[in-house]
Amino acid sequence: MASRLLLRFGALGYLVVLLLAPVVMITYRTFEHGVAPVVSALSSPTAHHAIYLSILVTLIAVPLNVAFGLVAGVAIARRRMPAGRAVNLLVNLPFAMSPVVIGLALYTLYGRGGWLGDWLSAHGIQVLFSLPALVLATTFVSLPFVVREVVPVLEEIGTDQEQAAATLGAGSMTTFWRITLPALRWALAYGVVLTAARALGEFGAVSIVSGNIVGQTQTLPLLVEERFRNFDAVGAYSAGFALALISLFIVAAMTVLSRRKEH
């Protein structure tokens, strides 16, 4: 009994110190001098653009990773082919690599002298230090989440339902839309939340390929870091708070949406 209590409170205390305390602290510091400084810190055109850019990049990266995650998930879970196994291994790469290294890798590929960089700039396409680089880096680092959520669910539900649909006359597209996809909706919702949170918060890879150009390629995390470096503590906290608020909004929205489609 005593040991169980100890375990329970030990785990709780650990989480409080490790996770909750820093969040409470930064929230406290943000609003230490009231709401007015926060509002003004978030009202500058720089802040507006950073918020806009972070949301835009997330809105592009999430659908890309959902589409890829579904295709790759089905390939891994349903097709017994060597390519599926290779995909399964490759998908983990973003987890295994430091975001900074991912940024460097993209930099060397798309920069001057890179395999793709020279060819693309010869065709008038600028990747580095512009939106495409931000999207590439963000999509890369947040790629595994949807796949990792979808594959176990596909494996668990098995093929009975899909085969039943086939015997009832459904083609593979009908079966996918009406049987497989509805079974995956929880996994997808969770995958979307994780992907969006990761995409919004991405710093390392983006900081390398974006060039951090104020008002152009500066995302919200980059703004936080820049303000922090310039001793603008309230500005940094405020931007960080905005970031957390957007993430919370996404989590809440997905929860409401998937609940509405319950059953």
Partner: protein
């Protein structure tokens, strides 16, 4: 519709599920694919359905080669052991699925679905979700769903395997009636010989990837082609060099032609019948089944010397390789 599977072979990795199997199933009949687990019967059913591709051999439905036709164009209804219900749809939508895929008009769909739900006694539960149904109800829903597209062939893979004994017996009787009503050719897989004997017009007994025997239940019971068939379809006991049914042994007081001397080891009253265990001279034990009245009339008691003889005209096969004795149905 008639089904002909010709020289069908199917291998899963190193495991030979079916080895050169040829089976003909008559139209309108209720046929059981019976056999021990892992014997290949489900694989054969799934190959007929088009859910599995044979490595070699052909499948004909009504004389038409269907081997390369996908499942959805074979005009079949398939019922899975674990129901394969669509969990995000109501009972009504589950049953309507096939009709909607076929783009049937709304009036027809509604009439047909309501009719089928009536038939499977689920009319009152049409707005429920599968998770709110019992196992037996789910399986009836799955049947209605399969019947909605008016299949020429109804295929059921261990349809009652996941249900408890009482529900299973109810559904058996009901499946028999349903088969008469819908007038489709019906094939079901089972490892339960009682279920096969009770339901089927014809039994295909499959073991170790091969067909042991095909025929009506009585024929398989009375004229088993192999010791395996004999021991799979009912109790057997060894009397000398022969495999005999325990109720086909006579207990005599005196020796006669072909009888074996034995000493009674045990007499058990089991309600309407009695079981007698006796030891032969060679040390082997024979089990005899008698009516209770007959046993009392013989006044058998432990230690008595009697003579056992197989009743004339009864089923007997030569003693099987030991594998047959172990092949007790697991259902």
């Amino acid at each position: 519709m008639s089904i002909d599977a010709m020289n069908v072979t199917k291998q899963f990795g190193d495991f030979a599920a079916l080895r050169d199997v040829s089976v003909s199933i008559d139209r309108g009949k209720l046929t059981a694919l019976l056999g021990p687990s892992g014997g290949g019967k489900s694989t054969l059913l799934r190959i007929i359905a088009g859910l599995e591709k044979p490595d070699s051999g052909r499948v004909y439905i009504d004389g038409q080669d269907m081997t390369d036709v996908p499942a959805r164009r074979r005009g079949i209804g398939f019922v899975f052991q674990h129901y394969a219900a669509f969990p995000h749809m109501t009972v009504w939508d589950n049953v309507a699925f096939g009709l909607r895929v076929a783009k049937a008009d709304k009036v027809t769909t509604k009439r047909r679905v309501d009719e089928l739900l009536e038939l499977v006694h689920l009319a009152g539960l049409s707005r429920r979700y599968p998770s709110e149904l019992s196992g037996g109800q789910r399986q009836r829903m799955a049947l209605a769903r399969a019947l909605a597209v008016e299949p020429r062939l109804l295929l059921l893979d261990e349809p009652f395997g996941a249900l408890d004994v009482k529900v299973r017996e109810e559904l058996r009787t009901w499946l028999r009636q349903l088969h008469e009503q819908v007038n489709a050719t019906t094939v079901f897989v089972t490892h339960d010989q009682e279920e096969a004997m009770e339901l089927a017009d014809q039994i295909v007994l499959i073991n170790a990837g091969q067909v042991e025997q095909i025929g009506p239940p009585e024929e398989l019971y009375d004229h088993p082609a192999t010791p395996f068939v004999m021991s799979f379809l009912g109790a057997t006991t060894k009397l000398g060099d022969a495999l005999v049914r325990p109720h086909d042994i006579e207990v005599l007081a005196d020796t006669s032609h072909g009888s074996h001397q034995a000493m009674i080891e045990r007499v058990l009253g089991l309600g309407f019948h009695s079981r007698v265990d006796a030891v032969l001279a060679d040390g082997s034990t024979v089990t005899v089944q008698l009516t209770r009245a007959h046993a009392q009339q013989l006044e058998l008691s432990v230690g008595d010397i009697v003579f056992l003889r197989q009743m004339p005209g009864t089923t007997v096969t030569a003693v099987a390789p030991s594998a047959a004795a172990e092949a007790v149905p697991d259902g």
